[in-house]
């Protein structure tokens, strides 16, 4: 807040004083210049004729995709089952690694501040930075296509997410309970089991279900790079331009995602 006086000695109220205002204008100016420059680069790489023509093409594709080919659904049950398995088993596998990593990364439970905490944080960051589709791409190149590659990809991506949220939960626990259990003469593991674990259990369950829900969404597209699930069917339908099949697959994915989101919301509401 700043108050300035004009020539007549009248006080004028303004939200900011002059220097802050000028700095703000400068930041806005730089940001706008950067965005305009970036936009121009995109614009140069775009064939604008196609963009102008887009509504017609979209209408054309939409026309071909409708109505969905309902009889195709019998071939989708198995890939859908695979998709759900990829997400679920991937989540379970990731938790097996994420839990120890989270305990190593949390300031109050780590065995060593540098030797254990930093590697754990590095694992979290690198797992989080790489999208599961890139992990899948990599694993398909290494261990071959199939649902195994997809499951491992989902697991690798989830480690960082689960471990990060879990270690934040561990750092926020009530230290008094830990102290009380320690005062009874409990060993390190007993303190863990009776003071720390009960406190983080609700957030652990919440994180698991939340990530499972995200993983369902992600595992639907893993098939595009050959890592199993319903995405494989989508890829093959797309490559032969079978739009009625594509629209049915999209509907199935949509339903699966909405359903999993409802389940996850229900479970989290029950926990909290």
């Amino acid at each position: 807040m700043a108050i300035s006086t004009n020539k007549n000695g009248q006080k004028i109220w303004a939200v900011r004083d002059r220097n802050t205002q000028l700095t703000r204008w400068f930041v806005y100016f730089v940001a706008v210049a950067l965005i305009v420059y970036c936009w121009q680069t995109i614009s140069e790489a775009t064939t604008w004729f196609f963009v102008v023509d887009a509504p017609r093409i979209a209408g054309d594709i939409g026309g071909r995709a409708m109505p969905p080919k309902w009889s195709y659904i019998n071939e989708l049950w198995e890939p859908l089952w695979d998709t759900i398995n990829i997400a679920t088993i991937g989540t379970v596998l990731s938790l097996i690694i994420a839990v120890p990593v989270a305990f190593m990364a949390a300031r109050n439970t780590t065995p060593h501040q540098i030797l254990c905490r930093w590697p754990a944080l590095l694992i979290i960051v690198s797992s989080r930075s790489i999208n599961s589709l890139i992990w899948a791409l990599l694993l398909v190149a290494i261990i071959g296509p199939g649902i195994f590659a997809g499951t491992i990809a989902i697991a690798l991506r989830s480690i960082g997410f689960c471990a990060k949220l879990l270690y934040e939960a561990i750092e926020e626990i009530d230290e008094k309970q830990v102290e009380a259990i320690t005062a009874t003469g409990a060993s390190r593991w007993q303190v863990m089991a009776y003071a720390i674990v009960p406190q983080i259990m609700p957030s652990f369950a919440g994180i698991t279900v939340f990530r499972w829900d995200i993983n369902i969404r992600e595992s639907t597209v893993l098939g595009l790079v050959g890592a199993g699930g319903i995405g494989l069917q989508m890829q093959s339908s797309l490559s032969v331009l079978a739009w009625p099949q594509v629209s049915l697959i999209l509907l199935v994915i949509f339903a699966a995602v909405i359903l999993s989101e409802m389940v996850s919301a229900k479970v989290r509401a029950a926990i909290i």
Partner: protein
């Protein structure tokens, strides 16, 4: 209570799920599911075993990443990813502010509320890659399709969180502004906006970070960015180049995360 009774009753940890029927039902259900799932899980172990060698080579590639032999491809891809990230974040923020205002129950009329919530739900349910495939089919290859995809995904994320934040704002401040006879615009700019601004900036920075990460995969379906270079590197088993790209992505994401942390700390 007699001494013999206390000796026979041992203390046990209270279970997390109180209802025993529910607890055992859930446990057996999970077990049955896991057995069925692993039953239908066919793994070609010999293929996996063959792959271990390649996997080891990939891990070794991280110790000597090759930034140089595909230098121009990597730079072009990274610049394109960065450009897509910046424009789509800016465009996404601009669109999600009105949608976020519309999706907040305390300031929007009911019909507007339902329309905005519908847009948010659609944007959140579709994975970026699926949107990108459809948009590449419509707009043709190139960064424009990626730009539209990321902007669309940003709306679902930002508008939803902004709307929830607006719903949580302090009513008395907004009411005080209204009592001065302010118009709707003045009411929003002076009563609501200052309360949600710090969080909006924090979320925008976070979304910038997410958009960069997502832009790395859009190239797989032809929507521009570093993903195409990465895909080619994997297809040709050039693990050292792939390692270089992955290291760069991790470094940039870490940098963005650090920057957003600094900016958020300064705002609060």
């Amino acid at each position: 209570m007699s001494a013999s009774m206390t000796a026979s009753r041992k203390w046990r940890k209270p279970p997390m799920i109180k209802n025993p029927l529910m607890r055992w039902g859930l446990t057996t259900g999970c077990l049955i599911y896991l057995v069925l799932a692993f039953g239908s899980f066919d793994v070609n172990w010999s293929r996996v075993y063959e792959g271990l060698d390649r996997g080891w080579q990939f891990i070794l590639a991280f110790s000597e990443p090759d930034f140089l032999s595909r230098k121009s491809d990597i730079i072009d891809g990274m610049v394109e990813s960065a450009i897509m990230t910046i424009t789509s974040t800016a465009c996404g923020i601009l669109i999600s502010i009105p949608i976020g205002l519309g999706a907040a129950r305390n300031i929007a009329p009911l019909p507007v509320y339902f329309i905005c919530r519908g847009i948010i739900a659609i944007s959140r349910a579709l994975h970026e890659i699926i949107v990108a495939i459809l948009l590449v089919a419509i707009f043709g290859f190139g960064p424009f399709a990626g730009f539209v995809t990321l902007s669309f995904a940003t709306i679902g994320f930002l508008a939803k969180l902004l709307a929830e934040d607006i719903e949580d704002t302090d009513r008395s401040q907004a009411e005080a502004i209204k009592a001065t006879g302010a118009s709707w615009w003045q009411w929003v700019t002076y009563g609501i906006q200052p309360q949600v601004m710090p969080r909006l900036i924090g979320l925008s920075m976070y979304r910038l970070d997410i958009n960069f990460r997502e832009s790395a995969i859009l190239g797989l379906v032809g929507a521009g960015g570093i993903g195409a270079t990465l895909n080619t590197a994997f297809d040709r088993y050039e693990f050292d180049t792939a390692a270089a790209i992955i290291i760069m992505i991790i470094a940039i994401v870490m940098l963005l995360e650090y920057l957003s942390g600094v900016i958020r700390a300064r705002l609060q």
